[in-house]
Amino acid sequence: AQSVAQPEDQVNVAEGNPLTVKCTYSVSGNPYLFWYVQYPNRGLQFLLKYITGDNLVKGSYGFEAEFNKSQTSFHLKKPSALVSDSALYFCAVKTNYKLSFGAGTTVTVRA
């Protein structure tokens, strides 16, 4: 079975500091990995995806993610967090037609 795990329920950082949201995957074959962000009472917004190629993927709003095959990880990063980055973040793996999501990580960026 294909799955992702987000080991942290919450991440708290100060504005201007680096932000990392962790994700590990368990996939047979090549993983197709995605990150989404959800603001309160809103739908999910796509941030970035890894399909193949460069291990460092750049996405929307200054986010990037690093694919690490040996550690089976796909951590989301932002060099300098903003208060407006406070939201719920989901890692997901796509298999055939479907996305399977991690449990989500709530990010709080304090001013």
Binding site: Y32, F34, Y36, N41, R42, G43, L44, Q45, F46, K49, I51, L88, F90, K94, T95, N96, Y97, K98, L99, S100, F101, A103, G104
Partner: protein, 113 residues
């Protein structure tokens, strides 16, 4: 560009009443369509997906059903709502192919009372 609309945005329904949530996609043809449910503001569960008109796959047995009467229209229904059907329902679409991104609508809040 492609857009996805779902409605109503908010719905309060009594137990035992019917449900109909609608979703349409514009700007593309023959999309894959999805219904997800998010309970307690966290976990996302795939309910149904469709790869074509009249083709519906159900992921979990439940009190809900889905239909795709037109290429870009996806409807989530129930004949009799249960309290446990309360939640945030998200419609989504993608182009066919594993590498293609799934894009989500703004969601519909359903409260069953």
């Amino acid at each position: 560009s492609q857009t996805i609309h779902q409605w109503p945005a908010t719905l309060v329904q009594p137990v035992g009443s019917p449900l109909s949530l609608e979703c349409t996609v514009e700007g593309t043809s023959n999309p894959n369509l999805y219904w997800y449910r998010q309970a307690a503001g966290r976990g996302l569960q795939l309910l149904f997906y469709s790869v074509g008109i009249g083709q519906i796959s159900s992921e979990v047995p439940q009190n809900l059903s889905a239909s795709r009467p037109q290429d870009r229209q996806f409807i989530l229904s129930s004949k009799k709502l249960l309290l446990s059907d309360s939640g945030f329902y998200l419609c989504a679409w993608s182009l066919d192919g594993r590498s293609n991104t799934i894009y989500f609508g703004e969601g519909s809040w359903l409260t069953v009372v």
